[in-house]
Symmetry: C2
Subunit: 162 residues, 2 copies
């Protein structure tokens, strides 16, 4: 995890880029991970934890229709959250997590159903994860997978000919 | 810590109240603690991590004069952050952390200089902490002290004759 975090920060710094986070099921764990690396303040601006559904709409401007039609546990919501936090903070990239940590299901979806959203210049993507384990394991795995997905995007975007 | 968290959530539920968080040096750890208790979604709405100083102004509407005159490591900034996140999220209470986690000093203040802000109906307070230890210890102690200070306020406010 430490190496993954270092690579993410190095890639961001190399591109003169910044990132901000919008978290639901991870409840702040992604922010904690990103602020754990020394020098993180150069590349991590901050983020929001939108635990209550209303905050996804009011703070991140996730369209109410997305929530009604697709639910908050959806790739559409993950993408809207990532775009929303990017706009809110002015970061180069927005990284989001939404899903079911458990122990009970949500919106008819089982624990471990998780979506990661990544937004950047001319880019909005979602990654679907199906994780197993207990609540904490699902939360920790989500953080790791979100950072791994983000690293892939950074490698692709920041070195287009690489 | 688990008992402290349970008491905070119980006091909030008893008063029909909610809380949101605004974090600087704790980088999401306060949000993680508050979302760790089962049933937290009834009383914890969410929060913001304003790691970059600009976000304290743009997201939480901390007055630029407060930042210029007192700095971000100040009781004034802690109070403004707590009031700001309360307004931003519509929660009954706002709870904030700002300070120096270290290892280097910030604004001429040594690591361990920490301020906790609490805002509620007709109430804005700051608590000053002088903590020792390494970066992680200062962050973890801040979370615990912030929750303990918040519990005291809740006990006082929610049972005015108790």
């Amino acid at each position: 995890m430490t190496d993954l975090l270092k690579r993410v920060h190095l890639l961001l710094r190399a591109g003169g880029s910044t990132v901000s986070t919008a978290e639901s099921l991870t409840g702040g764990r992604l922010a904690v991970a990103l602020t754990d690396t020394p020098g993180a303040s150069e590349t991590y601006l901050g983020g929001v934890v939108t635990y209550a559904t209303e905050l996804k709409a009011s703070l991140l401007e996730v369209d109410q229709r997305i929530i009604e039609e697709h639910g908050v546990v959806s790739p559409e919501c993950a993408k809207a959250m990532a775009s929303g936090v990017r706009a809110l903070t002015g970061a180069t990239f927005g990284l989001s997590t939404t899903g079911v940590a458990g122990p009970t299901e949500q919106e008819g979806k089982p624990p471990g159903t998780v979506f990661v959203g990544i937004a950047g210049p001319g880019l909005v993507e979602a990654v679907a994860l199906e994780l197993s384990g207990k609540r904490h394991q699902i939360q920790d795995r989500t953080v790791k997978e979100a950072l791994a997905a983000f690293e892939s995007v950074l490698r692709r975007e920041e070195t287009p000919l690489g």
